[in-house]
């Protein structure tokens, strides 16, 4: 089957989650073309995407696609899927992908599965495995339409290493389609340092931090570990921190090596976004908190005392050689 991938950019580069989709597409395409679609990109991206597994790259250059929005994306992706005969369309399960995927599915008369953790082929049919019921269960859906549209959570498949000897075709879109929506303003959080999605170490805080000041206690720990600070939904909803820090079912999917959950009870909705971390450590006053069932190491105690001591001790550790 021919596969179309909606490539999300972070800054100028394709997101890791998008590159992972290229790898998945290669295994599912069975020799048919893997087509990558990128809008608002530098034309140089064509080569990058081919090196990472695409056979064709459809690109709306930054210079012509100056005002991209979700309506423009939905139209371009529908056109590309039709034109290149894609029977599988993939997008990362982020606000970007979750926004366009269902619309593509309706336009393409496709079956749709969102937030998938794997896609397999069985007797010619696609099986999409996804989390449901707040991350408590997995359901395996058999896709019954000719075309499938799916979004995938990050960190399940490994991106292919760049192979600059791969050959492919570049197609440049000449004109953006008309749009029914108008973007008036974008308020981006100041991009400081590493993104949560790419972080190797995340220190995440929950309601147990008691307020915005609690996050000030986490920052030195994250800093000492070369990591970043994230959050459960509660502190975001309470405005103790930016909503962009939210990890979980409706927040970000993260896959760090180390995840330190501080004052987080471990609701399935939260774990849906961080359960794939390699090592989880929990610091919580309640020894029965669900988070300890996911953690490899646990401390029962007040974070305000435990975290500064942990931070100091980590700083004092002899440097790795």
């Amino acid at each position: 089957m021919s596969v179309l991938i909606a490539i999300e950019l972070t800054g100028e580069k394709p997101s890791n989650a998008s590159l992972e989709l290229l790898a998945l597409a290669r295994t599912l395409a069975n020799g048919n073309p893997v087509v990558a679609l990128s809008l608002g990109a530098d034309v140089g991206l064509t080569e990058t995407l081919i090196a990472r597994g695409a056979d064709k790259v459809v690109l709306g250059a930054r210079e012509t696609f100056t005002d991209i929005n979700s309506d423009v994306w939905a139209t371009c992706a529908t056109d590309a899927a039709r034109k290149h005969g894609a029977t599988l369309v993939l997008a990362p399960h982020t606000p970007f992908g979750a926004d366009i995927a269902p619309r593509l599915a309706f336009r393409l008369n496709a079956a749709c599965a969102t937030g998938c953790v794997s896609i397999d082929r069985q007797d010619g049919a696609l099986l999409c495995t996804r989390a449901a019921h707040g991350g408590n269960v997995r359901e395996v859906l058999r896709m019954k339409a000719r075309v499938t549209v799916a979004t995938l959570r990050a960190g399940v498949y490994d991106a292919l290493p760049a192979d600059t000897t791969r050959k492919g075709e570049g197609i440049i879109l000449t004109e953006p389609p008309p749009s029914r929506i108008r973007v008036l303003e974008r308020k981006r959080d100041a991009a400081e340092g590493v993104r949560l999605e790419d972080a190797k170490v995340i220190v995440a805080g929950g309601r147990g931090l008691g307020g915005a000041e609690g996050f000030k206690v986490l920052e030195p720990l994250a800093h000492a570990l070369g990591g970043v600070v994230g959050a459960s939904r509660v502190p975001c909803d309470l405005n103790w921190c930016s909503h962009a820090m939210q990890i979980g079912l409706t927040g970000k999917t993260v896959t760090p090596e180390l995840y330190i959950a501080v004052g987080i009870s471990g609701a399935s909705h939260h774990l849906a976004g961080c359960g794939n971390a390699k090592t989880i450590i929990a610091i919580n006053t309640d020894k029965d908190a669900a988070i300890f069932r996911e953690a490899r190491f646990g401390v029962t105690g007040d974070f305000a005392k435990v975290v500064p001591a942990l931070t100091a001790a980590i700083r004092a550790l002899p440097k790795d050689l």
Binding site: N69, S70, D71, P95, A98, D99, P102, R103, F106, A111, C112, T114, L127, C128, H133, G134, G135, V137, E139, V140, L141, R142, M143, K144, R180, I181, R182, V183, L184, E185, R186, K187, R188, D189, R195, A244, L249, T250, L258, A267, S268, H269, T279, I281, R293, E294, A295, R296, G298, V299, G301, K305, V306, P308, A309, A312, A313, I314, A316, L317
Partner: protein, 270 residues
């Protein structure tokens, strides 16, 4: 101004999962008998968004719509008690065991039948299936511009002919607008929905509620329910986890912190 809000009645999504069991034969998640059901949280916030619009534009009419069973009347009652004006229950065995696609067809047909709708509001996703398909789906079926993940919804223009939405993104928000009619999906960043007041709850009992079947919507039953679904559940299971937590014990929390650092180095985590 006529606003339609699509709301789903589901088992309390924050209930402990021990309150649920899995029926492998039927491939369904079964709530314990008596488990509280609620309007799916994002849908409740969609009602809140509609009420806030009406505060801006007195006279707006708000219709709450649900596709479900007899018990789903409670979802409509809750919406009416929050302040909606009338309710529509879509109930027919033909709707059973559908998917996001078939649910979309039925809800879209109902909105078409209402004929006067300017703005459709849904939740970003229903908190049982967590799919997030039906909202955008209705937008496509009715050929409306779709604005997803709203944190704020306001009307613009002298005749309130434009909807302006602040959308939640990965790294911030954006403000977008579209001409009405349009569809907006609401996210939790909108803020807490109001609780029904005693006065509205009393009034709610007298507000109109209609029940429509597939035939009332002029829908072909072959496109509905399990027959029309584009996905079929093969299997459902609870993922297993095999982590054993090692608790770090010490006399004081400070010592626990220090000991954790040492243990992490020892275990080569750091």
């Amino acid at each position: 101004m006529h606003i339609a809000v699509c709301i789903k009645y589901i088992p309390d999504p924050e209930a402990a999962f021990s309150q649920f069991s899995i029926d492998e034969q039927a491939k369904k998640v079964v709530p314990a008998p008596g488990l509280r059901h609620v309007v799916s949280p994002f849908d409740e916030q969609a009602i809140e968004a509609a009420l806030r619009v009406r505060e801006q534009h007195a006279g707006a009419r708000i219709t709450v719509i649900t596709l479900g069973n007899e018990a789903s009347r409670n979802a409509l009652k809750h919406g009416l008690a929050m302040g909606a004006d009338d309710g529509v229950l879509l109930m027919d065995p033909a709707f059973d065991d559908g998917d996001g696609y078939t649910t979309t067809l039925a809800l879209s047909a109902a909105i078409r039948k209402l004929a006067t709708v300017d703005l459709v509001l849904t939740g970003r996703q229903a908190a049982d299936g967590d799919a997030g398909i039906v909202g955008a789906g209705i937008g496509e079926e009715l050929n409306l511009p779709v604005l997803t993940f709203a944190k704020a919804v306001v009307m613009e223009g002298a005749a309130a002919s434009v909807v302006r939405v602040e959308r939640v993104l990965d790294d911030g928000t954006e403000i977008v607008e579209a001409d009405l009619p349009a569809l907006v999906t609401v996210s939790n960043e909108l803020g807490a929905p109001r609780a029904p007041s005693l006065r509205e709850t009393m009034r709610a009992a007298r507000k109109p509620m209609v029940v429509w079947k597939a035939a009332d919507l002029e829908l072909d039953v072959a496109t509905l329910g399990a027959a029309g679904a584009r996905t079929a559940r093969e299997r459902i299971f609870v993922p297993s986890k095999a982590v054993q937590c090692e608790f770090i014990e010490a006399a004081t929390p400070e010592e626990q912190g220090a000991r954790l650092a040492a243990r992490l180095r020892e275990a080569k985590v750091l």
